[in-house]
Subunit: 233 residues, 4 copies
């Protein structure tokens, strides 16, 4: 269908970028891109090697996981994406990886503390690690429930998904999002760097203090506040 050509292209390019940034090995990751007007999203097909992937292979679904267009089976994590699109209306793209340092924090079941300005340039909070699900939820509609696990985590901690564009699922790995699929991939790359830096920081100084509030605010605001002066816009 011609109408989704651009959406598939954006989704394809974001998936290829995930691979180019070394955030995935083999097919251990997926990116989706949404078209809010049409109420659908494009997502990578499941288990297709990046070197064989083509833009037209992207699968189109609605927020209730109904197949709209596509010959291939969508990513096994599709229902998590759908849930987030359905509930968080300002998201334009979502990325999921098994990147090394991000997954290691998820396996350690620890939030990533905000230790420096690299972190504060992107978000003002520790990066949350949602606890593993109950057995009942795992054995049920697993990927759908993973989405609920994410939104519940944000509700309980009173986090705003527009200000915290990333989460770790305990024992699993990261999901990140943004205004479009490219930005979601950007946040996956940033998260992997923050995860590595935080790991090293604690190795060098197990008592390293959290970044002070004034610096958190200063760095976030100079990039994202109303008087932001970072970048060209």
């Amino acid at each position: 269908m011609k109408a989704f050509k651009e959406l598939k292209r954006a989704c394809y390019e974001a998936n290829m970028e995930l691979n180019a940034l070394n955030l995935v090995i083999y097919t251990f990751g997926n990116v989706s891109a949404v078209d809010r007007d049409a109420g659908v999203f494009a997502i990578k097909p499941s288990g297709v090697p990046y070197e064989l992937l083509k833009a037209e292979d992207m699968v189109i679904l609605d927020y209730d996981n109904r197949l709209i267009e596509g010959a291939m089976r969508p990513s096994s994590d599709t229902k998590t994406h759908a849930w987030l699109y359905k509930n968080w209306e300002d998201i334009g793209g979502i990325a999921h990886t098994h990147a090394t340092y991000s997954v290691s924090w998820a396996q350690a079941q620890r939030d990533i503390p905000i230790f420096g300005t690299t972190h504060a340039d992107h978000l003002t909070q520790d990066i949350p690690c949602a606890p593993p699900m109950s057995d009942e939820l795992i054995e049920g509609n697993y990927e759908h429930n993973t989405g609920i696990q994410i939104t519940d985590c944000f509700s309980q901690r009173k986090l705003d998904y527009r200000e915290v564009p990333m989460v770790l699922i305990g024992n699993h790995g990261p999901f990140t999002w943004g205004k479009d699929a490219a930005k979601a991939v950007y946040h996956s790359r940033v998260l992997e760097e923050l995860a590595k830096m935080a790991y090293l920081t604690l190795q060098i100084n197990p008592q390293a203090p959290r970044l002070k509030d004034a610096l958190v605010k200063k760095h976030y605001d100079r990039k994202h506040g109303k008087d932001a002066y970072y970048g060209q816009n």
Copy 2:
């Protein structure tokens, strides 16, 4: 002999892939591929640099280490491969590396705990580390006995080689296998990633818990169970 051309080609390509994936330095690794109908396997010649390696250099042997075809001396680890092919009839290919993180766990003489879903996507058990052999076995038919060490480890722990496609030999390094040589190499790459993630997980949280059973089962089954829904088949 023309009949083995395809077998040598598959073996050669898997060896080159091992190198391309940075799982070996110099000649510290080897891959073999079996032809079950002919009852023979092809293996890398010993100590030949990858940039000089050609498909026709692959050496053909039977499961009792009798040379069937080939002008070069086979890998020094050939007898380990032969033993595994002889005893585990569903294996199509075997890979051996000295990859950094895998070897480090082997040197630490520790099983790699199952900490996350990346691990459970591939196997439901901790990755076993077989203990170093007795002096008598080392001084005897060493590489043959290394094969026995592996099969004994699996027997004693009641592990099924079809479900656990990898092992560490204490103080030495990993052997991995699969339905063909390419899959054996794939498992070497996956093992190296799991070894790195498990190392980092324990650095971040020395009390990190093992993955809960419900998640182990869920992730393994969605890729390998009878109702698997990962991938396109």
Copy 3:
């Protein structure tokens, strides 16, 4: 303006080198180059991806942050550069990165101890980590005050910026400098290596001793002393 063409070119090339050396991801860094005769410096525009950057995009300012030439907004860290040029007259170029190991030490708020001759080849002191600023200074003219934080740190510790060409800002990251922009980038790369080696040294031996004075002096002098015999000049 034709007069600044060479200055912009030197600044541009140093910024591209920072990227080529993998010291930055995305736009997390900046380099400037000074023209002491003209009393101006060139600096990278804020937030422009390296693949889009052109030499003519470099922004020219004086030491009081007055725009002299350029259509784009300069780096958000410009005022820190300006302060250092104004106060340390022998500096020809300045680099700032968020390189992984350097930032990790900054986040750990620890000086990097001098552990070996690689370090002593470049400087005779521990690499200083300036403490984070007071809230008042952060909320004020932040980037200007960051410059003051650096010069105050050197005054208080009686360090000479000509002999110690690098500093860590606590919770933020490194600034480095040199006789020109290329040398500033060189010092960023050296610092990242020293930061990684010092981290590993402490992991291997938490009681590792500081390099003895005779070796500090010997290595520094053979490269920088009056009878230096390293290199071709």
Copy 4:
């Protein structure tokens, strides 16, 4: 002089290989190659970037550091090379690097324990770390005394340089050697890998045991013993 053309070429190529293997940053390393019949060796000129280096730039000296041929100043570590050539007559090439993991063990002032078969494939001993020199020796003929420090370390520990082709100088870094310059570089690469693996092994298991004697002997002999069966010769 035409007679040294081949020697210079071998030296040049080994230096370039050191760089290609990522064992050096900038000019932090050097390789030499000896011509035993002529009683001279070729060595890299001091501080020349690899991208500018040419085979004809190599400097020729005798074992008493007398310049035989060459327009450039030789490596600042030349006297260490000369001493080793003079005293250890079976050495054909020497390499010195500041490779990350090797230097970190040197800075930690610890021998690298033999933990596995990767190590035993190359040498049967822990990799010795010579202690830093006395102040008197450092302030004297420093690089010459570094050579003495190495040969003294081997004498005191009753090590044979033909069986242990590598050493760490405390607080400085590694020297490695071999039958020719290429083999010396090979040993630098192997050492860096052993250093990384030993570091990780101790992180995973601080009580990791030394490799048992039977395995040390088995692996060394299958590669270097009189009935060696590794490789094609």
